[in-house]
Symmetry: D2
Subunit: 383 residues, 4 copies
């Protein structure tokens, strides 16, 4: 039985919409049944056609979609709504979808503002529906293994967390060259108060907290707009303090010319350290004080149930970004299906990012931008 | 419009069947409509059910599948048959499927013997149907780029080709431990005359010829059965001579203890060399006589149309084994759809492995095993 | 003609003394003729004997060494004094050596305090003698190449500098276990006001300024003492602002458990970025906005005169830490010999770290520690 | 006490002569006291002067050197002769030096022919002098560790050995461009019957036998002269059989365009495999069947006495080619000094390549070239 999926946003030419659809298809847990792909009606229709949807389930707006689908018979109507619009169009559809009785998968950063995020949290709780926020990187098997290594205490008490996300694609004034991705991501009316910090800083922040199992309680940020004419930050770094006393550094830049997308996290404890980076995604490096470093690999027999559950092929067949993304979709589906079946979901299935990650992510955005503007050094991480 | 796909073999628990299905789903070009998943009728039914197929299109045998589907209305019946059985069950279904008017995707090695391969070649030609052999590694974007670099003469005349495929998973007598994969792959009644040479040697051979654009004309092989009690080769190496005068070395082993699946090819010409390996699949290294080596990356803007067409996400989002596999399925579908639409297929679409690769692969198996047994040094590569 | 070298500090069992001696011997530019190896007279004698020195030139104190050597005939007496004592014993010997008419090679950090550093600067200027501070990492051929790449404008205007020096060797309370290295390096009476920041932070700072050609003008630091009972910082990070408007991050830690010594620098400009790390010391990675990244290698024909001059063997024969150290000694010797010969020194020879690096390094120590204690965010980099 | 060293060959501009001298100086175990650096008398004198030798100990020929030095007082005359001439000038000086009562360090390949090698073996035995052949790669700490890992049985019985030495520097007809190195190395009157096989094939062969602890008993070779006009082989590969039943592959090429000097060895046993390559010389990778691969590093505390003895700096300070070379010189010196002191040499000191390695190396040259010319497949490895 596949879950019936609807999509809001993600029309032709959209990068992340296509990624969501591949992720949804990968493990055959979903069937795309409807969509409101664009505010441009013609483009919306064309996208739906291309995706093989029944024309009567390609809608002109998310409101129409949710309204009409609600009225369809229970075994026909959509069950999960995937929202892949720019940030300023996250909250409205998500709220309405939840209130309409649908589970929601939402792209990050969760909302336009922290206030919206908190509001959405209430809606999620009230709705009783499941909610998934696509912090992709936590879907990698070896990121899950990393979290296990830490949570089992193998590294001892955690002392340091370094996380970095260097990109170079915004090194020039791309938003002036009719680049759609660059345009909305650097537009404060669409992205919110943050550029790089919202787009990739939130990923880095989420990865750091996910792997370390810790929470940031203070930060001190340097936020920069490097490219002339740009309206939002395209670069930044923050010193971090965690709730167990550990300290850390977060780096995120979109003007690291020549860099691609190599998000990387390092966590050190009393007994050893770990290192994972997307460019070598199937490897988790464990380093020790007094014995050889170890290379853990996706698909190997010695991994935790979390890493094993989130891999599809034997060791040595690289799994990538799309598989990591698909893991979010799969775990979300497995959890919903368990609900439907009236069974408890396995703990590995429930390990997908949710509303709490979104709240913390939006708090990160607001706190880090505020710190960037502040003359004070350490500022409390407020939610 | 999705192509209607049927599958022969690949019941529950099969590794490669699942991979084929993910590959077929990835780009939404296929819809699985029927299957004959197992010779065990109950298992076949269960597999079909799990895959959400209509029970009346889950068949007890491939003969039944092909017979019954043929009789369905044209717009309902299956269009493409994917065959994922062990080697000894390749030829029969493939022949019948083609003769029944269906396009065929077949797992490698193509057949049980070269004689069967030649017979199948005739059937393909007579049938007028498209045929794809799943030599996965040629589906990687950077392997396609490698082939372009060579074919455009950037390296000058090719002089050396090194290809290696070291695995360690058969380092112990796994076939004695009720391991299904190990059992059939080491069984001469199911795999044919070769073990490692058929299973992974053919991949290495195919990759070497694909990237270099050359053909092996002579070889000299050392073929070993290392693990006691094993009935087929689990290790080997061959010295190679190519049709342009270049020489090479092919290594394939399943007793390289601790190795995973790191197939690697290096090609050297008068002006430079290239290097690609699956463990770093999104990188193609170009090395030059008198300037810095260059790192080409999947998704980058400077790549050839072949590499670009076969990637889904921007540079820095790793694409892996499943994406490479899916590229075969996608290109095959795009070519078939072009046929249906009465349009010429793009050259990038037609770049999928076919019957000729299968003929050469089976000839490799027979020649390399024969050379391994021979006291003569160089033996001509005979087809 | 070899320069006559004397050593202060570096008796038996000292790590860095031995490194200095190997560096001095490597290129045959020096002959060790005298030493005051230890404040322990017996140990000093034993060390001198082991090193094959004439007993009458093994002295009980640096004062004695400088006094007696000064009285030897010009063609016999020492010419260059190498000082490899702990930090608190840098200034005295260096000052006296310069005032005694000898050239000085001094280990880093330059002095116990910035005040001493400024005082030493005056002595150097008055003395007219050459002075070298052993910031080893700037001796690597590919670090020199990196500096050239930046200074020639290949990366465009520099925007970001990341430098990191993660070590793990002080993850435990080693100074409580009779470890000589750990003891003095964590002792404020010997190291000065900084632990990690003085020992490795100064290296990171120097490398960042050397490669980027920029100067830090503001910083904001988080300085930590992680291991209980330790008397100095063992960890820290700083946000940086440079004199051209670029920003940066500096990381230095001695509690990055499992890490060795992998100092790494990344510099990004408008057109591209570069990356160098000690663990892959013979490679300089250049990354570009719109073309493949390039791998530059020690010993290759396409390098600048600076990189070429500082390598000894053809490409592919790895040169390491000792060779980098030796480059400092060699360039210092070549410069002195040019003076002696009354010829101008080549620009490549003059490229060794000197008093100015020491002043800035000690200013870094004082500024970074002050910032760590301050509640203010950005503090001006004061000298 | 330093050993008094004399050098035959290695005048100005010679690559390997300079390497030997750095190696000899590195650990202060030798003092260069005399030399016959060139058959060109003027060049010989100039070289001696540059090296700071007393003019009366710079000789016009090796015969003169040995004759005259023999007559000097015992505590003045040379003790160790280092021979760094082209291959055809190895045997004569080595024989005479040994017969004159001096220890000998000889560059590889040992002699011009196997016959000479056998003759030299007799001379060594008769002379009672120590003899070292500079197979540099066995001087790397992690190569020594690799040998220990195998010899202690950690990998179980050895099954496979892959060794490769790909270089690209002879990809063009460099010997036609007045390149001194290329000229003699491709000249059969100077190099002997082999080009690439003698120059680098012997290194690969030696490394394979050293690490595996096995001996080749059969081989089957493909030997090529790729560049037009070249008089000796510049490329080749060989299938190998070892004395314990293991098989292997050896690759050596000087036309692998763009490659530097990345000699690499992989050894697999029943339980695991190991991998070492010069380009990452301070890492030894151990791979296991059922647990994570391990990264062993030069200088770490967990290494064997062999690896520890042959390193100079703590982990993370890379040691390179010159240090590996120096390890040969150092161990040779320590062994000789033990003899002089009438004490047994430590087993770690005695682990330097000697006459037996030379015999096997020259046998490799003759066997591999013969096999390359033969139509027979396997040929016995004859000495």
């Amino acid at each position: 039985m596949k879950l019936r999926l609807g999509m809001i946003g993600g029309g032709q030419g959209a990068f992340i919409g296509s990624v969501h659809r591949i992720a949804a298809r990968m493990d055959d847990e979903y069937e795309l049944v409807c969509g409101a792909f664009s505010s441009n009606a013609e483009k919306a229709k064309a996208s739906g056609l291309l995706l093989g949807l029944s024309p009567d389930r390609v809608y002109a707006s998310y409101q129409e979609l949710l309204e009409k689908e609600k009225q369809l018979p229970e075994d026909v109507r959509v069950q999960v709504i995937s929202i892949v619009t720019p940030n300023h169009l996250h909250f409205g559809p998500a709220k309405l979808a939840l209130e309409s009785g649908f589970h929601v998968i939402l792209d990050k950063p969760m909302t336009f503002s922290l206030a919206e995020a908190k509001e959405l949290e209430k809606v999620v709780k009230t709705s009783g529906k499941r909610f998934c926020l696509t912090h992709t990187y936590t879907g990698y098997p070896m990121v899950k293994e990393a979290r296990q290594v830490v949570s089992e205490g193998k590294l001892g008490k955690i002392r340091k967390v370094y996380v970095e996300y260097p990109q170079g694609w915004l090194s020039t004034f791309l938003e002036g060259e009719n680049n759609k991705q660059a345009s909305w991501r650097t537009d404060p009316t669409k992205s919110g108060i943050a550029g790089a910090m919202g787009d990739i800083g939130t990923h880095a922040f989420n990865l750091a907290e996910y792997v370390s199992g810790l929470q940031v309680i203070k930060l001190c940020a340097d936020i920069n707009t490097v490219v002339e004419g740009r309206r939002l930050d395209d670069d930044g770094a923050a010193l971090l303090k965690f709730n167990n006393g550990a300290s850390g550094v977060l780096i995120a830049s979109q003007v690291a010319a020549g860099d691609e997308n190599n998000i990387k996290v390092r966590v050190y404890g009393e007994k050893g350290g770990l290192e994972w980076q997307q460019d070598n995604a199937n490897t988790l490096l464990l380093k020790w004080l007094d014995k050889p470093a170890e290379i853990l690999r996706t698909g190997a027999g010695y991994l935790s149930s979390y890493a094993t559950h989130n891999a599809r092929v034997p060791a040595g067949h690289p799994e990538g970004y799309l598989e990591a993304f698909a893991n979010l979709y799969r775990n979300f589906a497995l959890s919903i299906k368990a609900d439907i079946a009236g069974k408890p979901a396995e703990k590995e299935w429930l390990d997908y990012p949710g509303i709490e990650d979104g709240i913390r992510g939006m708090a990160f955005v607001e706190n880090v931008i505020a710190s960037g503007k502040s003359d004070a050094k350490w500022t409390d991480f407020k939610i």
